[in-house]
Amino acid sequence: MQRTVTVASRVGLHARPAAVFVKAASAASLPVTIAKEGKDPVSARSILAVLGLDVRGGEDVVLEAEGDGADEILERLADLLTEDLEG
């Protein structure tokens, strides 16, 4: 199951927004991957891999998870990315 999301934070998926996202993904019951469109997916539980994607604000990412509850997990993570995590 996949979802494509536009990252809202102006600083992109760096610094604080990346940390918030990875913490949420680590807490999820299923493994989740994140990818930039057309690129290889990486584990959403790895802060180093997520930072390495170098996602800028306004760019699209693809989230993917398989199994029971994947729908809700992707929903929750997508919500995190579409709100401004800089708070």
Partner: protein, 533 residues
């Protein structure tokens, strides 16, 4: 340089002293990063043991940084928490165990695994440069931990100590428990190094640029005498006792000197306040020690410089309150954000301008609807920060050109709950119409640097025009006199907060023209006070 210290200590090291105090205490060395283990380092045990040693090192690093995050709070805590996540990264652990499995030693495996991710992040460019530095710090810690050595970084101890380091970086000082630091001794650094600035701001004696400091041994007793710029190694009890007596006498003398700084009065009985120009809480101790009777210019830009996002209301509240609390019972004149094409802020795009000093700068940057909220947030944070601190807060706007702008700003400031509203007089037009402008506000402060550059049409940065950049030029003095006269007529204070105020040769002239306060760098206060007596 080392020389014989006489009979009081085994040897004496020299450096540049910061402050005048002396204090004795044991050495705590700041851990120094060691070179990483080479590729052929033999493993100490079988792969499973090496893997466990490496992963245990990562857990130790995560635990240590997590503990520091709790102590640090604020932005420093966020950086540390992100580092904890990195140390716990499952892919990092995989990269480590993939290496130990094929016979790589624990320390080397950790170093190589960090290297893989470092290359990825470094490739992403400037956005991640700070994260690369975080990763390097982590790698150095984990390599030390895997070797069973203390991690590099500031020491954490229960008893007070003398911190001995190569030099301190801002990141180190953010983590340092200053309550425990008796004195700072660094091998590198000069009077303007970060260590020296920290020492002055916090009133900690320091000796910087001490050759041989890093050869000192852990827990060795030192007597640090900042007034002499000397570090005595293994002083005798008698020597420490006599230093304590001298220190007590010095404190008494310093207390007397501050008490003697009574206000300056003109022959006709007017009181002239001598105030300090500051950039934030780090300058408070200096300003008070120099006998400042308040703050005449609090430059709030410092908080914003380099920020990609405007600082939040809460961050501003905290930063302003830290300053206001230091000046309870005194006046602090805060200036709202002063930005322009010549001092750009990433979140306030003003575009390229052919002539930035005549462009959209100072208050002009906030008059379009898109940026107005930044000013409103700042004013609200200032008003809220002053509450309960006992400070007498005055707030002024930079680059006001006419009465209409002054009226607009005054309305905004009063709406935010600011009781005393003023303007900077730094545009000649404002000086010429000072009466009309002062009718709209409660006070004015003359910025002589810009006023001189605009009056003489001589750019501050062009060396060839040095002769024209003189605040004592009759044309500039006439504008200052006009402004001061308008203030006297309306019974409103008019101060000077440019460099001219801190020039002992000009200070008396400015007061003669009717200026009611002079605000300057704390270091200039003593000399100006002496010149006015």
């Amino acid at each position: 340089m080392k020389d014989s210290p006489g009979n009081g200590a085994s040897r004496r090291l020299h450096g540049v002293g910061i402050g005048g105090a002396s204090v004795a205490g044991p050495v705590a060395l700041m851990g120094v990063p060691e070179p990483p283990p080479g590729p052929l380092t033999p493993p100490a045990g079988p792969p499973a043991e090496e893997a466990e040693r490496a992963l245990a090192a990562l857990r130790l690093v995560a635990a240590e940084l997590g503990r520091r995050a709790e102590l640090a709070g604020g932005e420093a805590a966020e950086v540390l928490e992100a580092q904890v996540l990195m140390a716990q990264d499952p892919m990092l652990a995989e990269a480590v165990t993939a290496r130990t499995a094929v016979g790589v030693a624990a320390g080397r495996a950790v170093f190589e695994a960090f290297g893989v991710f470092r290359a990825q992040l470094a490739g992403a460019g400037e956005y991640l440069a700070a994260r690369v530095a975080d990763l390097d710090d982590l790698a150095a810690r984990a390599v030390a931990a895997a070797a069973g050595r203390p991690m590099p970084g500031v020491p954490v101890r229960d008893e007070p100590f003398v911190l001995v380091a190569h030099d301190l970086a801002p990141a180190d000082t953010a983590l340092l428990d200053l309550q425990k630091v008796l004195a700072l001794v660094t091998e590198q650094g000069g009077p303007t190094s970060h260590t020296a600035i920290l020492a002055r701001a916090r009133g900690i004696p320091a000796v910087v640029g001490v050759a041989g400091a890093l050869e000192l041994t852990e827990d060795e007793l030192l007597l640090v005498d900042a007034s002499e710029g000397a570090v005595y190694v293994a002083p005798t009890d008698e020597f420490v006792a006599s230093a304590r007596e001298r220190e007590a006498a010095r404190r008494e003398a310093a207390a007397l000197a501050t008490a003697g700084t009574e206000p300056i009065r003109t022959p006709d009985g007017r009181e002239v306040k001598l105030l300090a120009n500051i950039g934030g809480a780090v300058d408070v101790a200096d300003a008070l020690a120099a006998g400042a009777e308040g703050v005449g210019l609090f430059r709030t830009e410092v908080l914003y410089l380099g920020a990609h996002e405007p600082p939040s209301y809460e961050d501003q509240l905290t930063a302003y309150r830290a300053v206001f609390e230091g000046f309870a019972g005194m006046t602090v004149i805060a200036r709202t954000l002063d930005a322009g094409a010549d001092k750009p802020l990433p979140f306030l795009p003003l575009g390229e301008e052919p002539n930035p000093s005549l462009g959209v700068r100072g208050i002009r940057a906030f008059r379009d609807a898109g940026h107005e909220h930044l000013l409103e947030t700042q004013l609200a944070a200032m008003a809220a920060a002053a509450e309960g601190t006992g400070v007498d807060l005055w707030v002024m706007a930079p680059m006001i050109a006419d009465a209409e702008e002054a009226r607009w700003f005054a309305a905004k400031a009063r709406e935010a709950g600011i009781a005393k509203v003023g303007v900077m007089i730094e545009v000649p037009a404002a000086a010429l119409c000072a009466r009309e402008i002062l009718a709209e506000v409660d006070f004015a402060s003359i910025g002589t640097n810009d006023l001189t550059q605009y009056t003489m049409a001589a750019d501050r940065l062009v060396g060839a025009l040095g002769g024209l950049q003189d605040a004592g030029h009759p044309a500039v003095l006439k504008l200052i006199a006009m402004t001061a006269y308008a203030g006297a007529e309306l019974g409103k204070p008019v101060g000077v907060c440019g460099e001219a105020a801190g020039d002992p040769r000009l200070a008396a002239e400015l007061i003669r023209l009717g200026v009611t306060s002079l605000s300057m760098a704390p270091a200039a206060l003593a000399e100006v006070r002496a010149a006015l007596r």
